[in-house]
Symmetry: C2
């Protein structure tokens, strides 16, 4: 078999949280050249963007772009609006849901990926330990892939799609942590909390899921050890 | 039958060109309350945004939002980059294609629409007289609708989708012009040219399609009469 002529390139959606950071390490281990994409979309703090920047630098991304797109202006979510972030788990889809956020993020990732002729777009969604957001589910991703293919000049002209890689889709968060530790992720450098304080609030949904993952993995969260 | 409790609301993608302006007039004639969405995405001029603003004001939109999202930063198109806009029709998909632009625009429109609990998103694409952009085709829209449904809390929780209305999908541009004239559109207030000069260049693809539409409709383009 002919060796591939050039390295594979992936656009990776990097929030700076536990999952997307582990994803970046996984793609790096595969040998992908990485193009990071983070969003300033009206979230309440810059902590996660700072984490994303540090990770992109550490892994020597070919590029790391922070795109500003104001998804807060029309409200619709406690994560970007002024409503309270829930301190307790709620039933159903929580108020932190940002309307069709991953649809927007993936669409912009595909715009970027097609412009640089990348080989993949990667997103760290999981439908195992998650908050119930509909745009984190496999059936959404399957439909989205079709839409992205049919929107794309490259696909229409050459049949080469830009696949969405979501290797954590059916992986429990504790397994993501275990993998990350093997790959050398320093989780003290990641930020998951919906709030942006000095330390994680340990009350929001995101903190709760993170704590559960570390507990199940049987290791302490280094972010809480500092 | 019970009359509907409230007016229907539509988010309309409004570029300020011939098609989207006629679409806004059509939706207004249907009685929709209109929420306009325009983009500053790196296009070479502000002419079309000025046109969009004037139209939104004239039709008394409930809101008109101009969202800034830089789709020019990674290149990939002569429409937003520094390459030449072609003066002659080309075969295949032209260099003015902006990677998956309508996928990005529709995704953001859905974010807006879900936040305000709108009844529809409307886009003025046509696959009859068009430049061959893949994201203007019906098969793209059908796949996109599925992806948007599955990303949406409202759909998942209540089964109420936010449909994409594309009433011009199979309508020739000359028919759009005829309809618009009946609905009172002043086409002198619209802007289609990819360039942003004093007057339309009459060389680019968009000018060419517009001229053909007016010729077929048997009326002069009032923008050229001024």
């Amino acid at each position: 078999m002919e060796p591939r002529k050039r390295s594979q390139r992936a656009v990776v959606l990097l929030s700076g949280g536990l999952d997307s950071t582990t994803l970046a390490y996984l793609l790096d281990a595969y040998g992908f050249v990485l193009y990071g994409l983070s969003f300033r979309y009206g979230q309440r703090h810059e902590r996660e963007l700072e984490a994303a920047r540090a990770i992109a630098e550490k892994l020597r991304f070919a590029e790391h772009r922070v795109v500003t797109i104001d998804l807060a202006q029309w409200g619709g979510s406690s994560l970007v609006g002024s409503g309270e972030i829930p301190r307790q788990p709620t039933s159903g889809i929580p108020s932190t849901y940002v309307p069709v956020r991953n649809l927007v993020f993936l669409a912009i990732a595909h715009a970027y990926a097609e412009a640089i002729d990348a080989d993949a777009v990667a997103i760290a969604v999981s439908q195992v330990d998650y908050s119930g957001y509909p745009d984190c589910r496999g059936e959404f991703l399957a439909a989205y892939q079709q839409a992205a293919d049919l929107a794309s000049r490259r696909f229409v002209e050459t049949g080469r799609r830009i696949p969405v890689l979501a290797p954590f889709l059916d992986v429990p968060k504790s397994a993501i942590v275990r993998l990350g530790l093997r790959l050398g992720v320093d989780y003290a450098e990641t930020w998951s909390c919906y709030r942006g304080g000095e330390r994680p609030c340990q009350e929001c949904d995101s903190c709760r899921l993170r704590a559960q993952a570390f507990a199940e993995a049987g290791v302490p969260d280094p972010l809480l050890q500092r």
